[in-house]
Subunit: 341 residues, 2 copies
DNA sequence: CATTGGCACTCCCCGAAGTGGAGTGCCAGA
DNA sequence: TCTGGCACTCCACTTCGGGGAGTGCCAATG
């Protein structure tokens, strides 16, 4: 079947090109992969694949290079899922097992991911909106100055200061603390915010000063709805950009700039928090034309893979099967750790 | 005085070279700076400066370029301290004023610093050892599982989990909480750790289960002496590396690698936390030969400028006066903010 | 003795020209 | 439908030479 061989040719070209970084020609192809046909036949196939838009030549009389469309077909239909090796699994667990808190888990994840894929790794902090409130602490720093600490199920901790209008006694403080916790603890962020709001309205006749309650609740609700902090993303493995070597201006510069922009990163990762599968965005498929030479491999993690996203950013010319396997493996491991703690 | 003119020549060369990125020749020098002598005279001076090791030529019959030693002299004796402009001060305050918590302050600082200096900015988290304990919170997640939250004067928050051997009642928990806070709150980290240790030893006959106290104290002390978390450093402005343009392998690659290594970064910043002055390390003066082409401009911040360090890393060929001014300005502003909160 | 103009010299940069080779497209034959 | 052969294309690399910026040195000058 000729159609079948053509796909085999495409796969072979992608693999060779990824491995060697050089346009691959018909002769080299038949030698490296034992296709039992002559170079001339391959040339015909390659010409056909080029017509269909899966390949290009950097210039006439050069070998072929996959296009974005070519990579896409490869990823969707041609790549065999590479199972994670034992060594990789060992690397992941030995890296992540020592983590003491959320920050630590996130930072270690970026590191493993960067190391395994040899690409730039990106990990998003757990989204506020998917968390529940584990505990709210209210501490009096001075009689009129409170410290609020909001502890979430994901391990995230938010803290805020409140300046009171009047002094708050020890007993009032304790009452406030317990009422706030009663309302919020165990609830999803959105529900907790609503419950607190109700609490503030009911407080006008309550035991402790109403203004204190109102201030505290306001601050907490604001912290809960503070989506700015959803935007936190950790990046690692930038040194891997060094491997690009050439094509500094077309690849590295825009990528470095994108990595500085958390918003951009989130957008790149964003599409990934769904369905549990690993998402691959290849080259110009994304919204940023400066990143036409880069691909994103990402997936969600956490319960339902919907807590937040994590992945890597690299050149379109990359080892997709291996990268996808690594991304998935790390995501799973992180999910498990978060689940346990 | 010839000696005086020589220094003027060195200064002029440094300034021109920084501005143009090209070896500066005798003729261009007399034109741009109104030295009232002939190019030939300048040539003599340049030859002398070269003999003394302040200049080099990339090759015979090229202009002169400052050596590390030349930059050093420039920084120590020739540069006039550039006052921060109003625009810079405005940028700093508008950037930093909106910060809600420590994380936020740190991240915003890196950003301004990177933007002002157009270099890679590095900010170290406040050192544990210089902090005092603001509050310790003990929360029962389940009857046998405690969450410890350690809040420090710098705004840092550390959290740890403890798995108890036996259930702990509400009253015991409250007692434990208040005793721990009594011992630790307000103390310097080291003193707090000592006080907690004493507490644990005294607890064997105390009211609440001794094993719980011991576990909690152990965990807290460990968190307090966890210098690993002292190693946290935030990096920003990597995109500014793009300006290096050429010399990718000699400058950017090793720098990117260094930026990944927190330990290296800390070592680079390390010498800066003292004396209040801005420290400049030029090229090969540092311990890493891969970074022979980069300089570090850093200073301490916080009370006595000893809390932690902050600064920038860039090519030896940089605008030292401007960079030093920016680093100092940001450090002062950050100190002020931390002081207020 | 510092300063200056003059002059020969050095070495890089840059564009032009030439060559080798890998790879292609096409065609005619099996 | 596949294959070998062949002419052709175009890049990558090297070589060569001119132009020019800049230097070092020297002899003259105040």
């Amino acid at each position: 079947m000729q159609e079948e061989r053509r796909l085999a040719v495409l796969r072979a070209i992608v693999e060779d090109y990824v491995a060697t970084d050089e346009p691959v020609g018909s002769k080299a192809l038949v030698e490296r992969h034992h296709l039992n046909v002559s170079p001339a036949t391959i040339r015909n196939d390659m010409a056909a694949l080029e017509d269909e838009g899966y390949l290009t030549q950097p210039h006439t009389s050069a070998g072929r290079v996959p296009t974005d469309k070519g990579y896409r077909l490869f990823v969707d239909r041609l790549s065999t899922v590479k199972p994670t090796t034992a060594a990789e699994r060992r690397a992941i667990s030995s890296f992540l097992d020592g983590a003491v808190d959320l920050d630590d888990v996130i930072h270690r994840s970026v590191r493993v991911l960067a190391q395994l894929t040899r690409q730039v790794a990106v990990v998003q902090y757990p989204t506020l909106s998917r968390s529940t409130v584990r505990h709210v602490e209210v501490v009096a720093l001075t009689p009129t100055r409170l410290l609020l600490v909001l502890i979430l199920s994901t391990g995230r901790v938010e803290q805020r200061h409140v300046e009171l209008e009047a002094e708050l006694g020890e007993a009032d403080l304790a009452a406030l603390r317990s009422r706030v916790n009663l309302a919020a603890t165990g609830e999803m962020i959105a529900d907790a915010a609503a419950a607190l709001d109700a609490l503030a309205r009911a407080a006008d006749g309550g035991p402790e000063p109403a203004s204190a309650t109102r201030l505290v609740v306001e601050t907490l609700v604001e912290a809960m709805s503070d989506h700015r902090s959803d935007e936190r993303v950790v990046v690692g493995g930038t040194a891997n950009l060094a491997r690009f070597g050439d094509s500094f201006d077309t690849s590295i510069r825009p990528l470095l700039e994108a990595l500085e922009e958390q918003v951009v990163l989130l957008k790149l990762l964003g599409e990934a928090t769904s369905g549990g599968a690993v998402t691959v965005r290849i080259g110009a498929e994304g919204p940023y034309e400066e990143l036409a030479a880069t691909s994103v491999v990402a997936t969600g993690y956490g319960p339902d893979d919907a807590l937040a996203a994590l992945g890597i950013v690299g050149p379109t010319r990359m080892d997709y099967p291996g990268t996808m396997a690594a991304v998935r493996a790390v995501a799973r491991y992180v999910s498990r750790i978060l689940d346990e703690s």
